[in-house]
Symmetry: D2
């Protein structure tokens, strides 16, 4: 068991790791109606379509130079096909395969399975999540300066994944202790006599130097709580609320807009037509200094989830997207022992 | 009984009126702790202090050239001393006095009672509200271009008053039918066979050409539901939420930020230290064309109060500031027969 | 000769006038290539197309409920067909015709000549400008809350006209002294012994209560220096610069973005494909109080034209659109005796 | 000689380097009047004062957790004391000393010379610049979420240094070829027969994954062209222009605001009271993917320096701050052989 303040071994300016993850990179969502999802992600949110087939759609943000940061695949029920991380080199792909095989996890080398991605390593990790690692992707035109084409929520790129896990401490041991993620912020139960820190309820973990690539939240899991896109600025988020209102699709707004206490980002939570949760996220902070210390939040701090003290809807804590196992079926869920919700202070 | 679409007699580019109201201009709030209120209005919100005495404080927005748009007066319990309208000329003051005397209302000429205001006509109107009319005020330096001094919510000026009245139709007859206010938008019950429009639940009424100087809302009254200040832009409102969060006073936020369906303005509702409700408001629209038709909203339209479909907190509908009568005591309340709340659709 | 501070006779909350002008309302530009102009005004700027014929295009802002605020008409060379003001009633149309006939000006009643406008009075006024007055226009759908459709510079409505006139004082006598426009700000030569104020170089005049409906600038005239559209906010202007850059049409930017010292508005000046100058303009201030005093600027004040001290390009002072006379030919120009440019202080 | 596209040896997710630079971190400016500079940097720009002595002032951005990102030291004439880079560990300090000693450069270990910085390695590098490397600094309170205290240009942190060097190719060989900086963008002369790329006029180089930590520009050098601070957003920059205008200190604005073609950032260039150039900078893009290819710009591209086609003032290219040598005197300048200015296309 490691705790957020515990020392990590470093190499090359980052914690040492069995293979070198650069950042959270893309996600595959299983959707039940491609046209309807296209209308949401490309039509309303404004993601750029790189490639399209009868059963899949590949989208990217305006800043992306890679083929996609979101793949939508047609399926019988909503689920998460995989979440993917960019690694530093093809060698790291081999190291990742070796690492997971050694831990007894199902590992598969996938070649040209996704459009735009020649090769990847697909694993089902110890937490039960389907992960994909890749080092190369087909390039696509960056639309960063094609401001004349920017629309919708002005999404620049994918930022992070938030995972619902039944045992945050175990997941933390894996990401922080084993994979070399650093920790920017966390929520813990209050200290008690002889216990310097209470149970870990949530943690924000990063490889790229902003607040997170992966957040861990206590809940029935393994599930994907949300994926988050980075928008151009806060105005893009406010403007998108107005656009949803104008189009009569305001019901897609689940929570926000607002400012996170934890992580400082400006946010909006949406639910896509299949119920997958998408966060629009921008304006967090630089975490790349080696001496950065994790910031601790009490579960009773009303500003932790909303810096403005807004109440978080109950379903935001509870609902999440199931993930597919190696058999293509949803991975069965385990319930958490405890979560922050049990001890939270309601906003005043 | 007049209805929002009914024709008004016009003169000089506006509906004819017994005296010429230019706009909603200032408000006197009774507060129980001047220092605490000063910290809120001047400290946090950033209103400029024009003048200060042991028992009163006079504040203005950055655009104001008049002495104040808000007067705070020390008193034993929170209440509204008066709301004030600027009239076109001293002659209009005389006409206002005549008009109210003829309707049997208490009328008093107040001279130098408020700092910065040489002369005013104070009345208790047929709806039970303490109103003040004035044509001249001491000038103060406009801080419009002193951007180096702008702070807080970057408030430019007062925009409007929202009144809780037990009988919206009666109040509408008075403001629209008698005082020459125009109507921009309104909420009415659904039409029924033989009834082209249902009961009037709320109305937005103006003399100056934006959405309103006065809004009428069904509720126990007479009470002041809120006064609203015009901010520089929507960023001023978002930024102010962050400032409240940063100062640990987020509990002052009651509702929002958001976009109104009705009136289109961007808003935030605050409660001051005495519980008086203050709206930050910006970005509505031009209503000065003679052919503007009032826009009707159904009470069941979930976007009417929040264009983004956000739920309105129950207390926002219910709580309000009492107003002082001619005897200096709170005016007793009457309950409304019906209100939109009874028929509203909850956000989905 | 009247000066900006001189008293005007008032009636009904505004200066008395021979006919009641509500606001600057629309403009007809003669363009040499309709498709190219459509691409600029509808394509890049994002104005909504209400109606289109082989020889004309009618556009409106998102807030407009009237058929158009800009008409483009095909012609052999760029020019201004007319600038138009909304008047309070059909009676005011008759009064306008009478007024101009009495002054010996050509007056014509135009019926159904412009799409969407049943009736108007067209005059060639004493300054040589082709003016149109109208009281009614076909209604069009307001797109104010169709945020999902907003694009380009997010233009809400037309704000004002800026006129190049050889004799600003004569033009001021006409607008301020005769037509009942009020004055918000002006540039004058420095006072000298016995002369309380120097020559008038420019003036900002209004009927609707913001900074102006008409600005008068010294220059060879009569010409239209620019027409100005009101944008949603300053971000709309910044964002539009980026869009022009992204589309490789940055050469359309002539001056700005910046903040005006005079009038306080945020601005950007563009030149359309025919060289007509268009200002994007937002965020000035309320001028409707009867006691508003005109604000005087010295021609030597480097912040008058740019609050940030930016230099104004020489051609911005010199170039302008010719206007058509009653014969359909450009009105010959007269040169000004003097202008602010001769005495201005270069930015440091 | 290396060129921007040439392959670098990688280690640990970044190019291998003799010592591990994390990011551009702080700068020491010699100023001639501390009170006047304090008024500019703390007063107007709003940087937070961490520590202050009779002869020096230490300031930080709102996001900084380190003691300072800017040190002002009193001196007889304006100059640059040093620019500083954070390295990954104390071991890297030793490696840096070794590296520079091996290249014959003056190296000095400074202990507690700057407030808040226990230990640093000071070198005069092969390009003639005074550099400082440090691995640890005293912590200061991050003001990131103290939005109630944010003011001025809302500066978050230091972003980069721009260096005037007489030989860009030589400087590029050093930073890219030797120190392991990556290259995001560059300006080169047009290719000619047999020459795939013309001379290098400027290059943007990074260790932290945004556009740059160091930019190299052809000019008489060694000099510091500017240091750049990262602001909260573009509104912070626009708002700061207004603040300078409001305070009558608009003359501090040298260029902008605008959008860079190269790097995509929103910018404003200021000159401090001693003439040191400061850039406000925000909103560039993520460069941390290993497969990022440097983007090439032609010196004749009018959008390279200003995406909106704005002209760059001549003095912006020419003027710069001298740097101090090991003797405490300004390092003599060498003139460049050529620069982009000679071939640039004037904006249309």
């Amino acid at each position: 068991m490691v705790r957020p303040g515990d020392r990590q071994t470093w190499a090359g300016g980052r914690p040492a790791a069995p293979f070198d993850i650069v950042r959270a990179a893309h996600c595959e969502l299983i959707v039940t109606d491609l046209a309807r999802s296209r209308e949401f992600y490309a039509g309303a949110l404004g993601l750029a379509v790189t490639e399209e087939t009868a059963r899949a759609l590949y989208l990217r943000g305006y800043e992306d130079r890679h083929h996609h940061c979101l793949a939508l695949r047609l399926g019988p029920r909503p689920a998460v096909g995989h979440v993917a991380f960019l690694v530093a080199s093809e060698d790291d792909l081999g190291r990742a395969a070796t690492y997971y095989r050694a831990r007894g996890c199902p590992v598969r080398i996938v070649e040209r399975e996704n459009a735009g991605q020649p090769r990847a390593v697909r694993v089902h990790d110890p937490l039960g999540f389907p992960l994909e690692f890749f080092a190369n992707m087909t390039m696509a035109e960056s639309l960063l300066q094609r401001y004349d084409l920017h629309r919708g929520a002005r999404i620049m790129r994918l930022d992070h994944f938030n995972l619902h896990v039944p045992d945050v401490q175990a997941a933390f041991d894996y990401y922080y202790g084993a994979l070399g993620f650093r920790c920017s912020e966390y929520i813990a139960g209050d200290p008690a006599p002889g216990v310097p820190d209470g149970p870990l309820y949530a943690a924000w973990l990063f490889r790229k130097p902003n607040v997170h690539d992966v957040a861990l939240t206590a809940g029935a899991g393994p599930r994907l709580h949300h994926l988050a896109f980075w928008t151009a600025d806060t105005d893009a988020i406010i403007g998108f609320c107005d656009q949803l209102g104008g189009a009569g699709r305001y019901a897609a707004i689940e929570r926000g807009p607002g400012r996170h206490g934890i992580g400082n980002a400006f946010y909006l939570y949406l639910r896509d037509p299949d119920g997958h949760r998408v966060e629009l996220y921008t304006s967090d902070y630089w975490t790349g200094d080696p001496d950065l210390q994790p910031r601790r939040w009490s579960a009773g701090n009303a500003q932790r989830r909303s810096f403005w003290g807004h109440e978080v809807p109950e379903r935001w804590y509870r609902e999440s997207s199931e993930v597919l196992g190696p058999d293509g079926l949803p991975v069965p869920l385990s319930e958490p022992a405890a979560n922050e919700r049990a001890v939270e202070v309601l906003p005043q």
